[in-house]
């Protein structure tokens, strides 16, 4: 009797241990490192990126997680502050890869910090997703890197073509970009694309990020008497301040912020002078194209970070679904196997459509998400989608 009881107890313990073990098994976690600015002027991008990574991770978990070889995995986002500079980006790379043991970077922001991350990640065969715009980060030399948003290489040809068609009489452009890797790479490409569209570049300047007084810059741009002013990779808040000063001195022409991501900052500093500005990386959630899901997530984000979501941040949502698709296709969580499978997968993007990867013609390999180029314009104080162009 006693032996029977002991056997029953032993069996119960074993069953309980088994259940616990399978429960633990069901909670397999894949850490996703995020190298993003969480302080300083670009903090709002990093905070939004963290928010969307966690949103996607929660959605995927609620939908049953990632299934690989019969096991269920879930994502955990690990955001680290790269302060948008190379030195901090290096520290973040070491912390994520060496201390946290991360094998997948769910997203990374800022060309300089991402360059630091990429060089270490490649040596350790870690898969990297990035929204960094630098073309130097792409190509056959970087088989573990994938780009999770449109970059100047995708945006500029279509956006500038659209502007040129819409304003055939505008034949001169003055350009301004921030004086860093992002601004310099954007400027070099923009010069070529404007010229390809028969628009003469009257002048092209750089300014230091963090500048607060834009009157002299505006005076110089206006003195070139251009039909178009293209502020390239200038952040929206700076761009708004520049357009406001241009308005004061009486310049009136076509306003473009090629890789402008949102209207909130633009309107906050530009006021009425933001009217009419074209952007190539903005997203609007008020129009007919916005889905209920987008609106709900955007409302949550606005309460959390104080701004509408933008294309930079949306990349941190899409990368999780791309990783899920590639892991399930490869039936592996090995980063190299996942990277090999990635170019062939398609997944449901935050933009509401199925997307895959392309870029072999431009970069030598399919590493760029094929996302729509959304041309937006500020009209009556609101950001309005005026064209959706497919690369």
């Amino acid at each position: 009797m006693m032996i029977k009881t002991k056997l029953k107890t032993g069996a119960a313990i074993l069953a309980l241990s088994g259940a616990m073990a399978s429960a633990v098994h069901a909670e397999e976690i894949i850490k996703l490192g995020l190298s993003v600015p969480l302080s300083g002027a670009a903090a709002v991008w990093g905070k939004g990126a963290e928010f969307l990574c966690e949103t996607a991770a929660a959605e995927i978990k609620a939908a049953g997680g990632v299934t690989v070889q019969g096991e269920t995995y879930n994502f955990q986002c690990l955001p680290y502050d790269n302060k948008y500079n190379a030195a901090e980006g290096t520290k973040v790379a070491q912390a994520l890869l060496n201390r946290e043991g991360v094998k997948f970077i769910g997203g990374s922001l800022g060309t300089a910090p991402v360059q630091a991350l990429q060089s270490l990640a490649e040596r350790q065969d870690v898969l990297v997703f990035t929204v960094a715009w630098g073309a130097s980060l792409k190509g056959v030399d970087h088989p573990m890197t994938f780009t999770q948003m449109n970059t100047p290489g995708e945006i500029l040809p279509l956006l500038i073509g659209y502007i040129s068609d819409k304003y055939p009489d505008a034949k001169s452009v003055a350009m301004l970009n921030p004086n860093d890797a992002t601004g310099q790479e954007t400027e070099a490409l923009a010069q070529k694309v404007w010229a390809d569209n028969s628009v003469a570049v009257a002048g092209s300047d750089f300014y230091e990020r963090g500048t607060t007084e834009f009157q002299p810059i505006a005076a110089r741009l206006a003195s070139l008497n251009p039909a178009i002013i293209d502020l390239g990779a200038t952040p929206p808040a700076d761009a708004g301040a520049i357009f406001k000063e241009l308005d004061v001195i009486g310049w009136n022409g076509v306003k473009v912020v090629e890789v402008g991501t949102g209207a909130d900052g633009l309107k906050a500093t530009g006021g009425e002078a933001a009217e009419g500005v074209y952007m190539g990386a903005g997203v609007t959630f008020d129009g007919e194209t916005a889905t209920d899901h987008q609106k709900a997530v955007n409302d949550e984000a606005k309460a959390e970070i104080g701004e509408s979501l933008n294309a930079v941040q949306i990349g941190f949502y899409d990368s999780l679904y791309a990783l899920k698709a590639a892991m399930e296709k490869a039936d592996s969580v090995d980063p190299k196997a996942v990277a090999d499978a990635m170019p062939a997968v398609t997944f449901k993007s935050f933009y509401g459509q199925d997307v895959g990867f392309y870029g072999e013609d431009t970069y030598g390999r399919n590493q760029q998400m094929r996302l729509p180029i959304i041309v937006t314009q500020v009209k009556d104080g609101a950001l309005v989608e005026v064209a959706r162009l497919t690369p």
Binding site: V44, F206, I217, P236, D264, A268
Partner: protein, 291 residues
Amino acid sequence: MQTFIQLGATALQIGAVYILFSLGLTLIFGVMRIVNFVHGHIFAVAALIVAYILPPLAAGGLSAPVAYVLASIAGIAVALGLGALLYFFGFRYFQRDLVGSFILSIGFVLLLDGVLLHLFGGAVRGVPEIFPGRVSIAGAQITVQRLFLCAVALVMAGVLYWALGHTRLGKALRAVSYDHEAAMMVGVPYARIAFLGFMIASLLAAIAGVLLAPVTIVSPVIGTDYLIKGFIAVIIGGLGSVPGAILGSLFVASIETFGSYYLDSSYATLAIFGMVIVVLLFWPKGVLGRG
């Protein structure tokens, strides 16, 4: 000629902002012999409070100028409260200690960076123009808002200059600035004067913050650029010198304006730093500094 007048007006407008900022820096250094890197955060707090309070006040039915005045009073009060906290829990213990105060103020900067980001978020805040419209002076286009800012800056600089020479507090501040031990020997209460000097400097930063809120980019990091330019202005003019701060501010603004127009904004920034090196080579204490 028209371009030159416009650029001159721009330099004066920018210079007025730097004057407000650098006067506070030079006053603190003169009285306490400390380098205060937190000055930019006191300025930022005032601007952020205006940006947060003004829209709901205006939406509540108050006219824009009335809402602005109320928001400004709140902004200045909070900034002064922050200044008092920084003094009593930090700088009071590091007076006339350049190295100690330097390390302390860097620590405060890092702490406040995180606190402001947590409280206000990283998003840029817009403050609508309180005095809309623009005027043409000798052909130069200037907004009424900027003109108001220039007028207040000039009045503040004038009042400070006059007060330092003609009031009991001003004379005490100058005495402490020249030789604090001699001042104490003749009965000047140094601790009280140092506190008042710190608070006057904080008041100047707060006023600059509320004046600039409607014309610039309001975010938790707004103070950094002004802090750098303000420091350059007082280094060129001479640490501790009020006329030096004014001269340095106008000089920095002129280089920035004319350099950005004729060269490039990035080169103008380089030129400002280059000028600091040149000035320090020939006037190590600044053009009007006593050291």
